[in-house]
């Protein structure tokens, strides 16, 4: 933080500067034990009930992209944040901030797609707000949401819970969302049949927790991609992990686009994927259960937790050498979610 006097795009990029912003500004200011957990949703208790609570904002550009739009993204994102602490999504809020002159017809499309995901997943959008700002002070439409879910009494899923020996499982191919959105951007436009992976993960998670009560960590690799999420967990749990590069599923289209644009698929955001840390003895049965779900059909074990007290992520490269996988720096892909 001390190197900067202005907010840079990189402060929202999910990488090193985002981490510093949270750690140096937000955490000290709002200091409380629930926030300190730094999970995707806060876990609360209220008279023997365990709740999960989460908020997020959606600023994706363009509003419509192959495989989704800002509305679907907002509802899926909220559900996924709740699902990542094992919660069943119950209620959510939606606040729309709209630029003057925005097409009502387009707004209707966005609302319909929010409704569709909500209906499919059973989450209810129970409160909301609408603000319109003068033309030019906002780019078309932003959405803010908050979600509440309930957590089973015996579940304890948190980024702080990784243990030595845990297998690290990814639910599918990485980078689809980021590259699908990027392919639609002005100046980048390239032809691609790639669809965003944007999807609600709550059913996949219920399948997984039914299969095993040894799922220690769940996290969806959104901003900053898989590299950022693995680093977050390494630091939260104070564990050292080893990832095998060749085990990570990446679609050919994503790899080709990343090669062209100089990106690393490990840094590209996803909106319908999860990473799970599962005890070794249950890893294969959880993997099988995931593969039975359409959203987990390409699931793969990509690595394991190899030691404690040395928080870092090692990557075994294709040629068998090892290097440290760091947090991405800067903002590679602004407004991707």
């Amino acid at each position: 933080m001390k190197d900067h006097d202005k907010v840079l795009l990189a402060h929202g990029g999910g990488g090193e500067l985002s981490y510093r912003l949270i750690k140096d500004l937000l955490l000290p200011a709002f200091d409380n034990p629930v926030l300190k957990e730094l999970d995707d949703a806060a876990r609360l208790s209220s008279k023997n009930k365990r709740l999960a609570f989460s908020t997020d904002s959606y600023v994706v550009k363009p509003l419509f992209f192959p495989g989704g739009d800002i509305g679907k993204l907002a509802v899926c994102g909220t559900i996924n944040d709740l699902a990542m602490v094992g919660a069943e999504p119950l209620y959510m809020s939606a606040s729309l901030i709209i630029e003057e002159g925005f097409s009502l017809n387009t707004l209707k499309k966005v609302i319909n797609s929010m409704e569709r995901v909500a209906r499919q997943t059973g989450i209810e959008i129970v409160t909301g707000d609408t603000k319109v700002v003068e033309r030019g002070s906002l780019d078309r439409l932003f959405i803010n949401t908050a979600g509440i879910g309930s957590i089973d009494a015996d579940l304890d899923i948190s980024g702080n819970n990784a243990r030595v020996g845990d297998r690290i499982v990814i639910s599918g191919t990485i980078g689809d969302h980021g590259i699908a959105v990027l392919s639609q951007r002005e100046g980048f436009q390239f032809e691609s049949k790639l669809m965003s992976d944007c999807a609600p993960l709550n059913n996949l998670v219920s399948r997984m927790v039914k299969e095993s009560n040894n799922i220690h960590v769940l996290r969806d690799p959104t901003r900053g991609g898989v590299a950022a999420v693995l680093n977050e967990i390494a630091f939260q749990s104070e564990m050292e992990m080893l990832i095998e590069e060749k085990a990570i599923p990446v679609k050919d289209e994503v790899r080709a686009a990343c090669e062209m644009l100089g990106l690393d698929p490990l840094h590209v955001p996803n909106e319908g994927r999860l990473i799970a840390f599962v005890a070794e003895k249950d890893a294969h049965s959880v993997l099988e259960a995931m593969r039975d779900d359409p959203l987990g059909k390409d699931a793969a074990i990509i690595g394991e937790v190899i030691g404690r007290n040395r928080p870092r992520v090692l990557l075994e490269t294709l040629i068998g050498a090892r290097r440290i996988l760091f947090l991405p720096r800067g903002e590679l892909l602004p407004r991707i979610c």
Partner: protein, 363 residues
């Protein structure tokens, strides 16, 4: 994926690495003079894997990094002029000049546009007839033909508001300068792939003939680089020194005649100032008489500043291959990609950035 998987095959890579380990007896110094090679070598772990037998040294292979502070300051002073649009490739934005950077000037209001193709700059000039559009022309032989094409297009379109700040540099003269300085004892050059796609293999012959140092032109995947190292080792073992082409899928002996003809028409050789090395005779490109009117220096009166280096920055020595990023006391402390002090930390292909992202041992 075809044409990619074959060159990243882990079994093949490991077999090559094993062969290198068994073939090599004494420790040898090989230099790569291409930033993309530096990234491959660090990112895939080749440097670490072979470190007991082969010392892989990064040379002046990143066009952003070898641009002098004086030239960065010149670009900044052009960008600050009224009625001007400066078009640049993105990696020049953060390069620190003496007091500022293009990124900071953009934030203060200068019209600086990031382009992905030099043709975009011609297009900006066409769409903004009342502004002067200056293309910051930086790059080695790989980029020069595309800039040459843009300049020739501007002539055909009779654009009178398009100019270039021509800072192009040539690789073989820099390799000669390094050898003549005699600071590093080299046993082989890993020659750049993209540059050689344009110039072919002949321009490196003086290195094998006059200096008796083997050269292998190679591609950018891990197995490409490993095979090139093996080819250099075999030459060293047999006491040979030849220019060999490993990157046969992209490079021929004579290079790309269309690109070379275009470069010859638009550019002529001149002296150039390399960061860390100084003036190297015949290592730069200027515009020929026919295209001189597109030269920003001929149109604007730009005050030349003095060259400057941060006292603790060792980018110059890193570019000459005599120091590594980890030898720098600023590296990873006050100098990192969010706050670069020297140019090698700016470009993704700069040695310091490559080591920072992929080569550090600890956080």
């Amino acid at each position: 994926m075809r044409f990619l998987d074959e060159f990243r095959d882990s079994r093949l890579a490991q077999a090559l690495a094993d062969k290198i380990q068994t073939l090599n007896s004494k420790k040898l110094n090989f230099m790569e003079v291409c930033g993309t090679h530096t990234v491959t070598i660090i990112k895939s772990g080749i440097k670490e894997l072979l470190k007991d037998k082969i010392n892989l040294i990064s040379g002046p292979g990143c066009p952003v990094c070898v641009t002098s502070t004086q030239d960065v300051d010149k670009a900044i002073s052009i960008a600050k002029m009224d009625g001007v649009i400066l078009a640049t490739f993105g990696d020049m934005l953060k390069v620190p000049g003496r007091l500022s950077s293009l990124e900071k000037e953009r934030a203060k209001g200068s019209d600086i546009r990031v382009i992905y193709s030099s043709l975009d700059a011609v297009d900006i000039a066409r769409k903004n007839p009342h502004k002067k559009v200056i293309l910051l022309a930086i790059g080695f032989e790989t980029t020069a033909p595309t800039i040459a094409f843009s300049v020739s297009l501007a002539l055909r379109m009779q654009l009178s508001n398009f100019f270039i700040l021509c800072l192009h540099k040539l690789i073989p003269p820099a390799m000669k300068a390094l050898l003549d300085m005699g600071e590093v004892n080299l046993h082989g050059f890993i020659c750049p792939g993209h540059v050689s796609t344009i110039i072919g293999s002949n321009p490196y012959r003086f290195i094998t003939q006059d200096y008796r140092i083997p050269c292998v032109i190679t591609g950018f995947e891990p197995t490409d680089v490993l095979q090139a190292i093996l080819m250099l080792l075999s030459q060293e073992k047999d006491g040979e020194s030849q220019v060999m082409i490993q990157y046969k899928r992209g490079v021929s002996e004579e290079g790309n005649p269309v690109a070379l003809d275009l470069m010859d028409e638009v550019f002529e050789r001149c002296d150039a100032n390399w960061r860390g090395i100084g003036i190297i005779p015949g290592s730069g490109l200027g515009l020929t008489h026919k295209y001189k009117k597109f030269d920003v220096d001929d149109f604007f009166d730009i005050l030349e500043g003095e060259d400057y280096e941060h006292p603790d920055c060792i980018c110059g020595q890193i570019l000459r291959g005599i120091k590594e990023p980890s030898d720098c006391k600023l590296f990873g402390r006050s100098c990192h990609p969010d706050h670069p002090i020297g140019p090698c930390m700016v470009s993704l292909e700069g040695s310091c950035a490559a080591y920072y992202y992929y080569g550090r041992k600890e956080r």
